[in-house]
Amino acid sequence: CNEEFLSVTPLGVLSEATLSNAAGVNLVLTGAYSLLDGVQTNVGSAFPDWTGSADNWVYGSVASDDAYKGSNAGDQPEISIIEAYNHTADLTHFRGKWRAVYDGVARSNDVIQLVPKASDLSDVDKNLAIAQARFLRGHYHFEARKMFNKVPYIDDQTYNAADALSTKLPNSTEIWPNIEADLKFAYDNLPNRWAGAPGRATKWAAGATLAKAYLFQGKYAEAKPILENIIANGGYKLVDAYHDNFRAATNNNAESIFEIQHSVNDGAAISNNGNRGATLNYPYGGGALTTCCGFFQPTHNLVNAFKTDADGLPLLSTFNQVDVPGDNSQTYAGSLDPRLDWTIGRDGVPYLDWGIHNPQYIRDRAYAGPFTAKKNSPYRSENGTNTWTGNPRQNANNYRIIRLSHVILWLAECEVEVGSLDKARELVNQIRKRAANPNGVVKLANGNPAGNYVVKEYTAAWTDKAVARQAVRFEQRLEFAMEGHRFFDLVRWGIVDQTINDYLTVEQNKRSYLRGAKFIKGKHEYFPIPSQEILNSAINGVPTLAQNPGY
């Protein structure tokens, strides 16, 4: 036999050379976008879909004062460990998140390296492809930075797909400047809109992400002009109904700046593009549209935060002193912010168009309380169209990672810090005014509001920065509750240890498993670098990655 007999070509896959053209660049770029949801199944994966989920429900919400793990005690115990701040560096969850974001980085770098080889691509298109890839690379690194603190920045100079050792970089250098550079390039080079492709990154998405990166570093002065530019020139507006930010039918609406696109019945097995990251987070039974898995239940603390006073304002300091009852047999006499019932399922209130939320929606009420998550859920009337025909838990309800309301409230933060308290209040009031829209609240079958909803604007001036800060931050909690931002916001605001420990002091009387839980300052602000990744980073037996303090 000669050598020719033994030469083979891999079947059903392509080489880099085959992809080195305009069409190939677009395909690989689409592949880089496709990891925005944090879900991947290309290799027999031991990482459950939600560990890398873009909505960060575990790390941003369960690890904060917004949500419990939910379900029952035995299911997914790792999340219970994170919830009670007992986590260690070897949890599969952290590695799953690390894996998702760094695969996103690698795919972005594949695009950047492929572009110069595509001779049929015009310079304009080359620039647009690079700008999108750098936006994505910045975004993925941003996720890594906020989760894991000390992380390496993998750029296209470092990364070499043909050399498996190429990315063993130390994590000793601060990567915010690299993130800023990528996002700045994207902000300067991307178009305002892409015709027919709302899923692509725009100038405004890049700007908002860049501003967010500044806010994470307390660089209010740098963030402010970008946020102002987006509001002035971005062409976005708050949608009339708050809830239009949380339903598939109104994906990519006028308020959206950047959404993680979910699609169903698109040919992907188990509808993998249909928000797999949230697949556990639906009501469990009792006539619900879904029957699994009852995770991601809101905390009582969060429910209480939606209480309003006689002026329709939040009870900034006292909200948690009396509980909004979870049991249907009791009613709450006080008034509530109507956003509560778009955020949280509770007994007696319609759960979208599924029917009235009832105790059977919950898997184990004694374990994780009477409330359910709502923002990620699909409509019963859209079952089979905006949900996967195989299972409605996979649905096309996009995760809106950045919308105009973020930009408005971030600008309010900046205004507070520069001392423009009235400007800040005006911005917060825009949000509250929309929340108060009487046409936009949850209604019963008879057309009446489902609760005693009273929400009003701040009419009195804020007396000082501290009060203003508290109000702005509280508004962000209400507006973005259960959306995976809370923990990271608490960290960047520098109030995470006190907020969480105060929360635990009370909440452990409701959830017995939280007894003994404690947030340790200087440690729990960040999650540990996955221990196996530290091991795998070794060169000649010496790890290049170092662990975060405290782990």
Binding site: F5, E16, S166, A517
Partner: protein, 1052 residues
């Protein structure tokens, strides 16, 4: 031409030899003796004058006929089976001349135990060969020869009639097997080079023997019954334990030294099913409506809208009893064989049907074999061996060792759930008691999901005697397999987490291998003193595999005739792919015997594989071995006791190429799941994308196993006793492993890299004793083997840990680790020292997992391995090994007149098993049923001999992987007791038969083990490549069964 006739009897006892070959030397004229040992033969004029009598176990007798026409010949029992021809690589050798470690399996014994698969039947039969099988009909079988040579794939190469295969052998009909040889060491196996690293099993199928056509019919029928179930709770016990663990969870402040200090302050569990927050739970009359007591209006029953009505089973459902039942097994084989001087032929038709002891599982096989050989002329022979088989398997849904299979559901479903609801439909469990599905329903709905396999396996060859001593052979083999399954999942409206939409997946694949080899063999004796055989050859192999599958959901009705893809309305999805590999080889062998005393055997093979980049694809695998027949030396030649003695020593190298087909290439792939994205915001479509799917490693080279073998074969007292002993040391270097690439590089298939070293050392002993007293004779056989596996090196870093599968529910991942200095797949977890008896003792101990309830009375006391006074994941360590100290088999055979009694037992000693089922049944994790052990042996104040911590429903720590899960996996199993009766000749001939044999048999009549799981025979978690990184983890394996079988064999 003239007629001769005669009778052949054994010299020692005068008994007739049935089926002995009688032929004229140098011709194809011959016959076999009948049941009285008689023969008759027409002798042509042009043949030699020598009559030859040959019979296995007896010395070949040659008689000059002269003019004599009637012969009364007595043959001598041979000293053991030393003259037996042993099929080795690309040829045969006399057992006497073998210098490597080659074991022959007694196929008669082997085939006496009903099995689906020939590999399964080898269990316990041969020293150094460990076999474990899945027990499910048509299930997987693991064969490991001399331990585990690599972290990679350790399955041996099977060579059937010269045709190599690594595929599953379910479709090889056992009834066709003539002989099995196992090439255990490299000096024997390295002629198969790159695929022989894990040993080679050579199987030869039956050929026709000289004589008239012989018709046979063999059959058995048996009844299989389950042996053992888990000891689970009834409804009352279940609810009691639930309440206890919920009270402990919800009143931590009241617990002082594990006792409720102030009962008046207790907050009781609030579960409406059991009457709400009350001190003593109430078992309701109905579970649907949830917790209903008294009368329920059953006329309101409705599936949609869902208003199922289900009575509580107040006594408790025994789910194991519901899903297991006795089941029949049967096998029928018709054969015809014979030979003339121009042709040999053997044909068989087989039907095998095993119903599983698990309801609605089964395996069926139909096979047809035809082996023929034709003599074209004096020098040229043509032949073929061909089998076509059809197999059909209905397995348990979701497969063996899976948390969502019926066995797992049988312990995960609460006892209060009945099998059926008030209308006779399947009942489901209430969601508050968790999400287990009804295992009876699962099996019933799966009963038509048959995996169907057609396999064509065989070869055709031509052999030509070019010169007197020089023979050329060319053989072309084919292995063609087709597989199809339509896997339908019906709606399960009763389930806590119903599937939502019925769906169907249809998948098809085919696999085709051709193997073409050519050999040239030269055998020569020079004078009395020198004998040698030289052989050279080439081989080329090509494999191609292709598959596709399609899926749809939303079928209007579940009826069987509707279960085809086109009948589904939505969820349309399909996938497909292909792969190929090729191998080209040249090889040679030289055997030399000096004075029949000094033996040398040398082989070399050069392999080139498409699986490696061109620069690294060539490898040479040499071997050399020597033998010294001591019994031929002067100092032993006159010895009355020592009949035969031989020392053997050998060294050789073998390889492994199981690294996937395209390891050298970096590739980009597309998949809707992981590289498509809905850029257009359409919600119902997505744009295609590509991603890097494989990191190529063009530098990978062959993994090499070097092995040394030393042993001896001794036969004493004219064959009454023989012993074979071997010692081996196998060391694998450049071990190929898909080293995990750091994730900052992205995610793609990890390339195999040459890392690591692994060593196995061990000894093997096989002994046989044959005794006789009058008409009573007996054989006692035993085999014993050990291996010690050590990972010498992983990637050079002693801290590097390669984990097994982490898909278990256990917190912090995995239970099996491969690390330098330890055996492959060692168990990994926490070491439990005991249970805290008092709060004070607990408080004074290191802070366990953040403290709180884990530092109170009744909690597990974990060992502080790293001594930092904190118990966390850094305190996990290697806690046990799944490798046995030794394995053994015992075979007893007694003959008295026409009766024969065979007894066979097999055991494993000193291995540990990780009883993962305990995660579900011994800890308050999910809401399924619990063991009696948890009920009785959980810690309560004063219970110092407790095995489990205080029951506490929010305890997610105690169930961490730990020494608690480890159990002694030793067992001895009486595999077979069989009584055979050969009907007397006079009776048989009166009814016109050639022979009739009837037998009765009991399989697995007794198992001695301390293991508390379903079955100690749990070696590999599953049977695919890479599975050796997690050995001995019991996820609720399909249990062994006991069976009583009756069989008969008729010859016409």
């Amino acid at each position: 031409q003239r007629s001769i006739s005669g009778k052949i009897t054994a010299e020692d006892d005068g008994s007739p030899l049935i089926g002995a070959s009688v032929f004229i030397k140098g011709s194809t004229v011959g016959t076999v003796t009948d049941l009285e040992g008689a023969f008759a033969l027409q002798v042509p004029a042009d043949v030699s004058n020598i009559l030859v009598v040959s019979y296995t176990g007896y010395a070949t007798l040659e008689v000059e006929m002269g003019t004599q026409t009637s012969f009364d010949l007595k043959v001598k029992a041979d000293v053991t089976l030393l003259q037996e021809a042993v099929v080795t690589g690309y040829g045969t050798q006399s057992r006497r001349d073998i210098t490597g470690a080659v074991a022959s399996v007694d196929t008669k014994q082997l085939l006496s135990v009903p099995s689906t698969n020939v590999a399964q039947a080898m269990q316990g039969r041969v020293a150094g060969v460990n076999v474990s099988n899945e027990n499910a009909p048509g299930g997987g079988v693991m064969v490991r020869i001399r331990g585990f040579g690599t972290i990679n794939d350790n399955s041996p190469l099977f060579v059937v009639d010269g045709m190599p295969t690594k595929g599953n052998l379910n479709t090889l009909n056992l009834g066709d097997v003539e002989s099995i040889q196992i090439l255990k060491d490299a000096s024997a196996a390295s002629i198969y080079g790159s695929r022989a690293g894990n040993g080679v099993v050579i199987i030869t199928t039956k050929r026709g023997k000289s004589g008239k056509p012989k018709f046979t019919y063999d059959a058995y029928y048996g009844q299989q019954t389950p042996i053992k179930f888990l000891d689970l709770l009834n409804t009352q016990e279940y609810v009691n334990l639930l309440w206890e663990s919920r009270i402990n969870a919800e009143n931590p402040a009241l617990l002082v030294d594990g006792k409720i200090s102030d009962p008046s302050k207790i907050v009781y569990p609030n579960i409406p099913m059991f009457g709400g927050a009350i001190a003593t739970p109430r078992i309701p009359d109905y579970i649907f409506p949830v917790g209903a007591v008294g009368t329920v209006d059953e006329s309101k029953y409705s599936v949609s809208p869902k208003n199922l009505i289900t009575k509580a089973n107040k006594e408790g459902t025994d789910w194991f009893d519901e899903i297991f039942d006795s089941a029949p097994i049967q096998n029928h084989q018709i054969g015809v064989s014979g030979a003339t001087d121009q042709a040999r032929y053997s044909m068989s038709l087989n039907y095998f049907d095993q119903q599983g002891i698990m309801i609605h599982t089964s395996y069926k096989r139909y096979s047809l074999r035809a082996n023929t050989e034709f003599k074209v002329n004096k020098r040229i022979r043509l032949g073929e061996n061909m089998q076509v088989a059809y197999g059909e398997q209905i397995g348990q849904p979701n497969g063996n060792q899976n948390e969502s299979n019926p066995i797992s559901f049988a312990y995960r479903v609460p006892p209060i759930t009945p099998v059926y609801d008030v209308k006779g439909y399947f009942a489901g469990s209430p969601t508050v008691l968790d999400n287990s599905r009804n295992p009876v329903a699962e099996l019933y709905r799966n009963k038509d999901n048959a995996g169907k396999e057609i396999r064509l396996f065989g070869n055709a060859y031509v052999e030509a005697d070019i010169l007197k001593d020089l023979t050329a052979r060319s053989q072309l083999g084919i292995d063609y397999g087709l597989f199809n399954i339509r896997r339908y999942r019906a709606n399960d409206p009763e389930s806590p987490e119903p599937v939502g939409n019925n769906n169907l997946n249809t998948s098809n694949s085919y696999d085709m291998t051709w193997t073409w080899y050519n050999t040239l063999t030269y055998s020569k004796s020079i004078g009395e003193n020198h004998r040698f055989t030289a052989m050279i050859g080439t081989e080329a192999i090509k494999n191609y595999f292709e598959f596709f599958s399609g899926e749809r959901n939303g079928f209007a009705v579940d009826d069987l005739p509707n279960r085809y893809l086109s009948a589904g309305r939505a969820g349309i999805n399909n996938t497909g792919g292909a792969a190929e590999w090729l191998l080209a080889s040249e090889f040679g062998r030289l055997n030399y015997a000096l004075n029949d005393k000094y033996l040398i055997d040398a082989t070399v093979r050069r392999d080139r594989s498409s699986r490696f980049a061109p620069e690294f694809r060539t490898a040479v695998f040499p071997s050399v071995s020597a033998g010294w027949v001591l019994s031929k030396e002067d100092f032993l030649s006159g010895n009355q006791a020592v009949t035969f003695a031989k020392l053997r020593v050998g060294w050789g190298q073998t390889g492994n190429q199981e690294i996937g087909n395209y390891n050298a290439f970096s590739t980009f792939a597309t998949s809707p799941e992981s590289s498509f994205y809905d850029l257009s915001g359409s919600r119902t479509s997505s744009q295609p994308g590509y991603e890097l799917s494989q990191f190529g490693n063009a530098k990978a080279k062959w993994e090499t196993t070097s092995s040394i073998n030393a042993g001896f074969d001794v036969t004493l007292w004219s064959g009454k006793f023989d012993i074979a002993f071997d010692w081996f040391d196998r060391r694998t270097t450049d071990m190929l492993f898909p080293v995990e690439v750091q994730l900052t590089q992205g995610v793609a298939t990890n390339p195999f890299q040459n890392i690591g070293e692994m060593q196995n050392t061990g000894v093997e002993v096989g002994v046989n004793y044959r005794g006789k007293s009058g008409e009573f004779s007996y054989t006692i056989g035993a085999n014993f083997s050990t291996y010690k596996n050590t990972v010498i090196k992983t990637n050079g870093d002693p801290k590097t840990q390669y984990f097994g599968f982490s898909n278990l529910r256990l917190p912090t991942g995995t239970v099996a680790v491969t690390q330098q200095g330890f055996p492959l797949a060692s168990f990994f977890g926490y070491d439990i020292l005991g249970i805290f008896q008092t709060d004070r003792e607990a408080a004074e101990s290191p802070v366990q997992f953040g403290g709180g309830a884990m530092n109170k009375a009744g909690a597990f006391h974990f060992r502080d391995v790293n001594g930092d006074n904190i118990i966390n994941s850094a305190d996990r360590t290697i806690i046990g090994s799944p490798h046995p100290d030794f394995t053994y088999g015992i075979n007893l055979s007694f003959n008295y007149k026409s009766f024969q009694l065979d007894i066979f037992g097999q055991g494993v000693q000193g291995n540990e098993l990780f009883n993962y089922v305990r995660y579900w049944t011994d800890f308050p994790t999910f809401g399924g049923n619990r063991t009696q052990r948890m009920y009785d042996l959980s810690w309560r104040p004063g219970k110092t001999d407790a095995k489990l911590p205080i029951p506490r429903s929010n305890d997610v720590i105690s169930s961490n992987p730990s020494t608690y899960y480890l159990e002694d996996g030793s067992y001895f199993r009486l595999k077979n007791v069989q009584l055979t009766y050969n009907l007397p000749q006079n009776l048989i001939s009166r009814i016109g038969l050639g022979g009739l044999r009837v037998w009765a048999q009991g399989q697995n009549l007794m198992t001695i083990t301390k293991y508390e799981g379903l079955d100690p025979e749990v070696n590999l978690r599953n049977y695919g490549a890479g599975s050796d990184r997690q050995i001995g983890v019991d996820e609720g394996t399909y249990p062994a069964f006991r069976s009583i079988n009756f069989g008969l064999g008729v010859t016409f």
